[in-house]
Symmetry: C2
Subunit: 429 residues, 2 copies
Amino acid sequence: MKFSNFFIPTLKESPSDVKMRSHDLMIRSGMIRQETSGIYSWLPLGFRVLKKIINKIELFHDIDNVNQILMPTIQSSEIWKTSERYDTYGKEMLRITDRNNKDLLYGPTNEEMITVIGKQYIKSYKSLPRKFYHIQSKFRDEIRPRFGVMRAREFIMKDAYSFDLDETNGEITYHDFFNLYLKIFNNLDIPVVPVRAPSGEIGGNLSHEFHLIVESGESEIFIKDDVFNKKYDDLSLKELINLESYTDDYFKKINEKSGFNSFKSIELGHIFLFGSKYSDSFNFVVDSHEGKFKPFMGSYGIGVSRIPAAVIEYSNDSNGIIWPKNISPFMVHLINLLHDDTECLEFCEKIYKDLIKKKIEVIYDDRSESPGKKFSDADLIGIPVQIICGKAFKKHNEVSLIHRANKKETYFKSENILNSLIDILGENV
Amino acid sequence: MKFSNFFIPTLKESPSDVKMRSHDLMIRSGMIRQETSGIYSWLPLGFRVLKKIINKIELFHDIDNVNQILMPTIQSSEIWKTSERYDTYGKEMLRITDRNNKDLLYGPTNEEMITVIGKQYIKSYKSLPRKFYHIQSKFRDEIRPRFGVMRAREFIMKDAYSFDLDETNGEITYHDFFNLYLKIFNNLDIPVVPVRAPSGEIGGNLSHEFHLIVESGESEIFIKDDVFNKKYDDLSLKELINLESYTDDYFKKINEKSGFNSFKSIELGHIFLFGSKYSDSFNFVVDSHEGKFKPFMGSYGIGVSRIPAAVIEYSNDSNGIIWPKNISPFMVHLINLLHDDTECLEFCEKIYKDLIKKKIEVIYDDRSESPGKKFSDADLIGIPVQIICGKAFKKHNEVSLIHRANKKETYFKSENILNSLIDILGENV
């Protein structure tokens, strides 16, 4: 992609009310734009990151036979009255009256709707288990939206829901989702820590959150020393139920508090096994040989649009973003410093086309801007590898390769640069 | 995908208020579910079709360097007051008050927002032309939502917007979008007819719609005899401006009405070149060598969530849907009639895995249902090719291949079926 075709409107400064590093960097790198309080547009660069995340989430859900659906953003108030959450949800729920004075709402979550869907179609134990997910806009009317897309009012969530015959099967499904989440975050280069959580609003009693530890995080988690370096992907169901890592709320209820460290963190995922709370409310009954069952349910959320901000919060320096490879909008940032020079231009065009052929994602700065502007934009945008074509190309037929993370620069003969890039990025090609 | 893993809840009957064939078939094939008036969930099979359409739309927009973004569904009322559409838009606009008594709305379209975005970042002629698109939920509070997703209140739209320096460049961009739309619909196997349209609400004076001719359509278009079989993809700008095909509204204004035929149709796309209407309202000014310009704008919509319904309306028989290949959720429907027979089961499992290896999308009916139920579901769902493994397999080692469109059945030796399928579906593999 060329800058001339791909719009990345970098800015020198953020508005003065921007307090968080990731918020500042997302605004200045032209990833997002605030439209009104807590409501954002995703510009081309930001959307590209979002889509990488979504593609990865879809891939792993599909592999696990979680069926993708799409529920609407607008819901009828009736189902929320049935579950008795319409009044209790409070002012965070965006309530709407349509032209016929019918009470609607912008869904903050979808337990009610999925239960009604399940109830219509699932009549027999033979149809169980069933797992559904969708990726969709949600709205929660936060009293104090802040930190950009980290705590926005309109945001994108992946929410999944499961139906099982009974608690035993429900726990198996819950365990599968626990491992699915670890796999997804691992594949996005995000080192999350799972912690036990209270289930609160949604109900039930088995719940975990997935946190990224960063100093600027709004959450706090408590971890027992010997758990911190643990690998979580081979935990048995019993081990995950008894995990000695806790959210703030849960930790308050723990008696034995010695030996725990606290960390500031960002919550990226949340899973619940809440049982028959909603199948009870909606009288959702399934037939089996042993009689009638109320299906055992769970819900599983990922804060999709919060992920880019969390990753930036975790991976940046004074010059800008440092994207991990698996989530980076591009792999290579090609910079032509001599855009008026025919040889340099021809070389850049050739390497640009070669990279595309090799399916290495490249953003090519073909603008007529100063070297200083091009360098600072490249560091701000944070693509893992920068390729610079400038004076050394004219003098010695050399281009340089800079690793964004450590700013280490190496010169290569221009005819060798493509193979060197393939060597470096090989795993991702 | 196996029925045991992919949820297709077919129904015997639709609710009695379902009047349109596509609405009935989408409900009965388990593609969609009504949640409340004019608001639908897309179930796994329906979402799969939707995603095929979205992927194709994204592919061709990306090739044309239209940058994908994502604007929020909720907008501030202020920008609509600036363009003076807040009052004129009427009751179709879903108006919302948030917890701080701020007036918001669920966007019915995005001309205002994209203009504000353009105004912030585009300062110089050097940044032009720019083209953006997004695929997002829209809400229009129809007084009489009907025909399922054909005329829903919440729906998915692809809307694109362009900024050009002046009218001449704007017309070039408009012409490009006209051809882009033909390419997209052609690649979805949808034979649309472009017709000239009045621009109405959005303003400006160059506008075309893309219609699919079907008897049950709500729209009416007027086409001059000699234009009907025309190829539209090599029209010059002048030819498309003077196209003798019209929407109903436009036709009323035509003086010479002889020689026209009228057709019932469904509107699937709509493009506008409206000029500086919104850059005027928002005082969006760009510098150039020749002074200051108000960018010339256009907008370009596709009714994404209406497309599956339109295609079904156009392609079905008394038994169900007949999917054209390029939009079909799967290519092959594998039916095991003897699900208790070990040999039959082993054969079906093998052919299922072979098809996946060959990247031929397959839905495999592995349920313990009667042959009658399996056949009627297969015809209802409408996958182009059905493979039947039953008594002939046991007796003669033969399986049959049925073309859904014409119900023509051919028997093949079981060892030849894979290659026969590859021959038949070859173009799509």
